[in-house]
Symmetry: C2
Amino acid sequence: MNILITGATGFVGTHLIDLYIKDRKSKNLHCVTFGESRTLQQVIPKEQCYEIDLTQPEKVYELVEKVKPQEVIHLAAMAAVGESFLDPQKVLQNNILTSVNILEAVRRHARKATVLLIGSADEYGLVKPEEPISEDIPLRPTSPYAVSKVAVDYLGLQYVLAHKLRIVRLRPFNHIGEYQGVGFAVADFAKQIVEAELDKRNVIKVGNLSAVRDFTDVKDMVEAYRLALAKCVPGEVYNVGSGKGVRMQDLLNLMLKQATREIRVEVDPRKYRPVDVESVVADPTKFMRQTGWRPKVPLENTLTRVLNYWRKLLIMHKEMR
Amino acid sequence: MNILITGATGFVGTHLIDLYIKDRKSKNLHCVTFGESRTLQQVIPKEQCYEIDLTQPEKVYELVEKVKPQEVIHLAAMAAVGESFLDPQKVLQNNILTSVNILEAVRRHARKATVLLIGSADEYGLVKPEEPISEDIPLRPTSPYAVSKVAVDYLGLQYVLAHKLRIVRLRPFNHIGEYQGVGFAVADFAKQIVEAELDKRNVIKVGNLSAVRDFTDVKDMVEAYRLALAKCVPGEVYNVGSGKGVRMQDLLNLMLKQATREIRVEVDPRKYRPVDVESVVADPTKFMRQTGWRPKVPLENTLTRVLNYWRKLLIMHKEMR
């Protein structure tokens, strides 16, 4: 049983590989990394780590022909929504091209593999206020990143319709945890709070706090991905989220309560997106029914881990200076 | 009033420019061609013909900054559905990248321009049998070409939602006429019929004849495009088609009736697509109500013109040999 994972050293990839290792499956993993894979080679056999540019079709075809995976989890993507406004060409080309290369490689060399294709709650975008969001409401993407995920989503459907590949399409809602980079609200909050702790400052700057989002711990999310491969119906699309909305202001308050000093919050309109959606809450009924998945980690615990991750990271950086 | 047209020497572009010239608007036209523009320079001022690679963002930004168009009609696209299965990367990259370059250029340098963005009936794909097809049924694209048009369509919506650009999105159903290349059924039929006429052969080979499609004369289609710019609501998406279904077998019979000799038809399963949609008929109510557009040319007349076009073309080729 060979499992091919792209984006293996990314935010979600790191946690997914943790999960498989705990499950004693490191022998089965074949991991594609963007850039160097030295750290990954400490937990995955070196010859199963591939430093491959997924935008090059021939490289991807060769890889899939060699690995002959039974399962493919395509996590690699440019995911920063804010940045995608600055260079829309880049995010569109990268996310679409890497995905079509993977699907085309599977069509050519691993037709029976189950492929997990990762869309995004951002595909729904500026929905009419009819939350929670089920899979069949019209998509109204507001960022180039979101459009790239819409394209990947429909590309998956097209390979199902035309070539009968076994592709499961997911639309994960916000997920948070260690290793998430800045450019995402919770990571930005955590980094600024920890910087304030370390530098003994009292102010952090944030964007729109009235927005409501649906947060899942990344540990719960990777468990959902594993279940999706085992239990979802190829061709179908599923929301993955908690189904519960949290106002950004309330989430930030939970984090500030865990800070080691008093911190004041300044709202900076320059941190607003060109267009922002007031409320994005999943209706995850379809996925939960199909898989039995339920998120387990309470939000406070996730936020503690995120803050501690940034404390460790920033103290390390400080010591290295 | 500057009008920027991309894909100006293509199938639809040629007819659209004809229309504007008849309307004495050649002075207003700025035309982007793929490859050389010598023929176009006979009808459009030479300095308004641009041989530009639309996949290069900077070139497109410079062009739009210079022309400062009030209207943009983005026709340039790879349109051959069958071919798109052979090189999905190419059609996806080309159609999406050229479109984002145009939209980004308009956002930077011509924010008030009205942009006509051309999707396709192919976006609907394998719809459940609930024809005619209105704009709000779920998209189920079956070819890489169709996915590229879905992406362009949502990209247009995204630029409307995020940047308030004046973008009108159209989903034209099948259109036919002179200058359409092989790879499209009617052009393929016409070419084979005329070859049989010239070479005194009695057989032509065709694909799936049971399919039902909605045909519009390209002359009616470019009139629809002109009306769309004047009358449609930016941000909205409109089907453009006759609303009448014609079985391919019946269309072929109409053409064979006009042939100068008896021709027998052989169905060749190799000409079938990986997946084909039985019936694709537009519900064009929304567009017709908004613009007053009605198709005028009877199908028989269009087919006569198409056959005569191929007769002229193939006799010319024969004489040159």
